[in-house]
C-alpha cells in the first residue's frame, strides 16, 4: 500500500483534516477504478493517481464552496516577506530570519490552508513534497510556465499571510520606512 500512503499524505497536506483526507483518498481510488482504461503507462500510475487526487480535491472544494476566503488580496505574486522584514541597508543583523524561526507549524499550516486550491496544490507538491516543476507539470497536466506562475502567486499569498501573523504578534511593525528594494540598485552588484 505505499501508493495509498503517498496519496494519503498529500491528501492530508491539502485538507489538513484526517477524515477529509481519508474521504479524498477513497474518492480518488473509486475514480481511478472507474477510469482505469485511461491509464496508458503503468509506470506513471503514481502521477496518474496524484492527478486524480488533486483534481478531485479542487472540484470537491469548489462544489462544496468551502474555499477559504483569503483575507488579503491575492496580488500579482510579487509580495515578498523578506522585503517587508529585512532591515534597511545601513543596519546589521538578520531580523527576518529570526521571524521565520518564530513561526509555529500551526501558523504555516494556517497560511497554507488559506491558499486558493490551485495555488495550494502547487505549493504543497513543490515546497512540502519536493516535486520538481516537470513532475508537477506532468502530474497536473499543465505547462511548466503555469506551474511556476501558480507557485509564484501561491508563495506570494502565503508570505503575505505570514507577514500579517508577524504583525499581529508584534514581531514586526508595519512601518513604511524606506527599505532597500531589490531593484533600486543600492547593492554593489552594478
Amino acid at each position: 500500500m505505499p501508493l495509498v500512503n503517498n496519496l494519503h499524505r498529500v491528501a492530508f497536506e491539502l485538507c489538513r483534516s484526517s477524515s477529509d483526507a481519508e474521504d479524498l483518498v477513497a474518492e480518488t481510488v473509486v475514480r481511478a477504478c472507474q477510469s482505469y482504461a485511461t491509464l496508458r503507462d503503468a509506470t506513471k500510475a503514481k502521477q496518474w493517481l496524484l492527478r486524480i487526487l488533486t483534481n478531485t480535491f479542487i472540484s470537491t472544494r469548489r462544489l462544496k464552496k468551502i474555499r477559504q476566503e483569503v483575507p488579503y488580496d491575492e496580488g500579482d505574486g510579487s509580495f515578498s516577506l523578506f522585503e517587508e522584514l529585512a532591515p534597511p541597508s545601513s543596519q546589521w543583523g538578520n531580523p527576518e530570519r529570526e521571524v521565520i524561526n518564530k513561526f509555529l507549524n500551526e501558523d504555516i499550516d494556517q497560511a497554507l490552508h488559506a491558499l486558493p486550491e490551485e495555488f495550494r496544490v502547487a505549493v504543497v507538491l513543490c515546497d512540502v513534497e519536493g516535486y520538481t516543476y516537470d513532475e508537477i507539470a506532468q502530474t497536473l497536466d499543465i505547462p511548466v510556465g503555469t506551474v511556476r506562475s501558480r507557485l509564484s502567486r501561491g508563495r506570494s499569498i502565503l508570505q503575505k499571510q505570514l507577514y500579517h501573523h508577524a504583525v499581529e504578534r508584534g514581531w514586526t511593525t508595519p512601518t513604511k520606512l524606506p527599505k532597500r528594494k531589490s531593484n533600486d540598485k543600492q547593492c554593489e552588484c552594478e
Binding site: V4, F12, E13, V30, R97, I100, L112, S182
Partner: protein, 83 residues
C-alpha cells in the same frame, strides 16, 4: 561546462527569479553561475536567498508520515468491490 567569463551580469530582479529556480532545482549551469556571481557582490540578494531557503525548509518540515490501517481496510474493500 560554462566558462565563468561568459557568465553575464544580472540585475537583482533577475537574481530573485533565479533564486526561486535554484531552490526549486530548476536552474541550469548557466543560471546557477550567473546567480553565484551576483551573490558574491550583492548582500541583499544573498540575504534573500538565505531567507527563502529557511522558509522553504519550514514548509518541507510540514511533510508528515502518515498511515492508517482503517483507510487501508477501506481501500481494500473498495478494490474488492471493483474486481
Amino acid at each position: 561546462m560554462t566558462n565563468n567569463a561568459n557568465v553575464s551580469n544580472i540585475s537583482c530582479e533577475e537574481a530573485i527569479d533565479l533564486i526561486a529556480m535554484q531552490l526549486d532545482k530548476f536552474a541550469g549551469d548557466v543560471e546557477r553561475l550567473a546567480l553565484e556571481r551576483h551573490l558574491k557582490t550583492c548582500r541583499h540578494c544573498f540575504d534573500r536567498l538565505e531567507f527563502e531557503k529557511l522558509l522553504k525548509n519550514r514548509l518541507t518540515g510540514m511533510k508528515i508520515d502518515i498511515s492508517s490501517e482503517q483507510l487501508e481496510g477501506k481501500i481494500k474493500a473498495l478494490l474488492n468491490g471493483f474486481q
